[in-house]
Symmetry: C3
Subunit: 312 residues, 3 copies
């Protein structure tokens, strides 16, 4: 298996073998604490094109490139906004590929990363496209589960919050179809997982069950994956406030949880997880951030066929 | 001939010998595909001061510096705007020259780059000053012509669009006075080339002719250089729309063109060239972007007297 | 004495011995003109978190890191603003410390840098916190005095302008308690130094005296440190204008000054020092900028315990 010269657009495109190989490389990087690896990409320039704000993901990729000895160019913020207004995406990609050796793209539209990959002659990594996919987040989520639970198979994994619009959830679910897991989908009716993804899960033989309330299933979970519920999804503010409070994770919520339940979150959080949870052994969301660095370093070294430069 | 320690403010300051030497260094860089050159400026920091937005030019210089092993510092966007409000340009330059080894400046005012060069004790490269000059763009335009046509001399070069306010056009025309070319200037009356530049062309013995319509001269052209016509130049919107459509380059416009006509554009385009042209052999505007990287790498290595580190 | 692994939050935390050691390392860097030192931090990533705009300080740290061979990640401007709205500071710090090896933070709130240092497991350098402290500015100010006057002890140092809200002044005064100096505090009544800092100076045995007018003490000064008076501090515009003019430094103001008086300013200036002063030997404010680079390089190498890599 090789990612050399390939794009990473959707977790649908990866096989179980791919995941295992990516995690093997990631583990080598973790073993070195991400240090001493500046010989991997010393001559590579990676363009970070953030058409949508995302400080965390941008800093994560930026660090990953630099820990591997590479350099970054790119844009974000108001500059990105004015580019989107000024020319079409294809032209931007055709210009940037004259400069960079690979492109990392975050874009508010579904299909944007895929389109960029079709236009570009260099590898494109999807760093979040619309409400659709965020494959490197899914990879780091899986790696977190693997490292914190020792396995992904045979776990019961609960996903809670906005399952309809969260690209993080979608990419993670596609990825989980490669593993032998039971998935619990916990959300208010308005934010239930879309039918097409449910169809995909059925087809792939994933066992899943839907819940309105976390209390009904918390005791069975090995992993609880929390996502943010955004006010803008609700027509009535009072409906949002009700949902928001009933989906908040705190010590009381966790009182019936397994002792070794891990609580994950893609961050940033704005109240979905109470700070009192931070100091418990359940909380792994800041560890996720660290694992994310390792995973992105693995992906970047692999698309350039340089993973052999990372010795264990 | 040497650029060591010099500023690059205007193409007026360069001789034919200068151009030929710059293109020789550029060709060496092209021969190496811009790779394996991080030993050229490994200890140099270049300040990119973009007081006016220009993602393409900024990314081009940023890539050029990094492919040569150097580092960048700088600002753009709202940060640049607030600096312009907060202190005078001389103070900004005097501060930045304490940090960097050279300055690349883009500024909305005519004369800004020249003034910065007078204040600074380190080399200053003009990356676009007002409506006045954009010398590195002219250099990459000339290099594109040289590479795509095999020569600059004896060509008939058409420039179309906003000839009055385009700094790209002005710098290119100054540069072309060093070559034996015929220049066709195609623009609506409102946007004709200014008298002072026309006087300069006369003085230097450049053969040029003015046209209102491309159709009247397209069959004679070896090169067609397209620039954007901006809505803001017109008092009446309908006048803009009329001009905009009649200056748009598409397959129909090109039906009478020479088979080996090349169509150039400094980018970004917003409709001046139809996308159907992109896949023809006429289109060289994305190649221009690549050549621009090589040219800027040449200029940067030369102002530090390091071009001998670039072996062919 | 060692700064290895330590935070730099306040000049109150440093002893005379600390200052002398920092200046010794700084002098070594100055002796090398900041060149040839990319072997000091080749594997370190420093996060520059600018929650408040400060181009000069950001470029200074950015240059310092890169001259030492390190890399930067970070944010500023509107991106910083949206982060502040989106999550609490502790979460931001906990994320960033997964990526970087040290954090440089500028933040509009008093106590912010100290709080960041408590949260973080990596060294934190305060690059300006509220109206409170700006320790690296104080270090570069002291180093400037040392280099330009040959000593800090036995000097009479005047500070003029907004002494109440200037963090630069506060950090400098805390630092000066370690030296045998006389301090003249020159400001309009509204902007006099706060009582708590005056108490601190008393306690430490610093000789200081307050003045309303510079004319009353200019002839006695060895150093004149000028700060900006901000319009926003005044209720009545006419009061601001009166103060602004009477605190402006020009050739007339300096006519009674000692010949070897040095005039300092943290920059940017907006009229506090007339440009006619720039070309006199009194003016050292652009030299301060250069010394600032050396000092920050010293601090950065020291928090990583790498100062031994800087040979004299």
């Amino acid at each position: 298996m090789t990612l050399t010269g390939k794009d990473l657009i959707s977790t649908k495109d990866l096989t179980r073998e791919d995941y295992e190989y990516i995690f093997e490389i990631t583990k080598r990087i973790e073993g070195r604490n991400a240090q001493g690896l500046t010989h991997v990409l010393p001559d590579r320039i990676i363009a970070l094109l953030f058409f949508e704000p995302s400080t965390r993901t941008r800093l994560s990729f930026s660090t990953a490139v630099k820990r591997l000895g590479g350099e970054t160019i790119g844009f974000s913020g108001e500059e990105a906004t004015s580019i989107m207004k000024g020319e079409n995406l294809a032209d931007t990609i055709r210009v940037v590929e004259q400069y960079a050796d690979a492109i990392v793209i975050r874009h508010p539209l579904d299909g944007s990363a895929k389109y960029a990959a079709q236009v570009a002659n260099i590898p494109v990594i999807n760093a979040g496209s619309g409400a659709e996919e965020h494959p490197t987040q899914a990879l780091l989520d899986l790696y977190t589960i693997l490292r914190e639970k020792g396995t992904i198979d045979e776990l019961t994994i609960g996903l809670i919050g906005d399952l309809r619009y969260s690209r993080t959830v979608h990419s993670l679910l596609y990825a989980l179809t490669n593993f032998d897991v039971t998935v619990y989908l916990i959300s208010p009716p308005l934010l239930k997982l879309g039918e097409s993804i449910k169809g995909h899960l059925h087809e792939k033989g994933v066992h899943f069950k839907e819940f309105d309330n976390l209390a009904d299933c918390i005791s069975e979970l090995d992993v609880l994956y929390v996502t943010r519920i955004q006010r803008e999804r609700f027509v009535h503010p009072e409906e949002y406030l009700k949902v928001k409070d009933s989906y908040k994770i705190n010590m009381k919520t966790l009182s019936n949880a397994k002792e070794n339940l891990i609580v994950m979150h893609p961050l940033p959080r704005v109240g979905e997880i109470s700070h009192e949870v931070d100091n418990t052994s359940h909380a792994v969301y800041f560890k996720q951030v660290r694992y994310g660095l390792y995973v992105r370093m693995a992906i970047l070294s692999m698309i350039f066929g340089r993973e052999d430069r990372i010795t264990g």
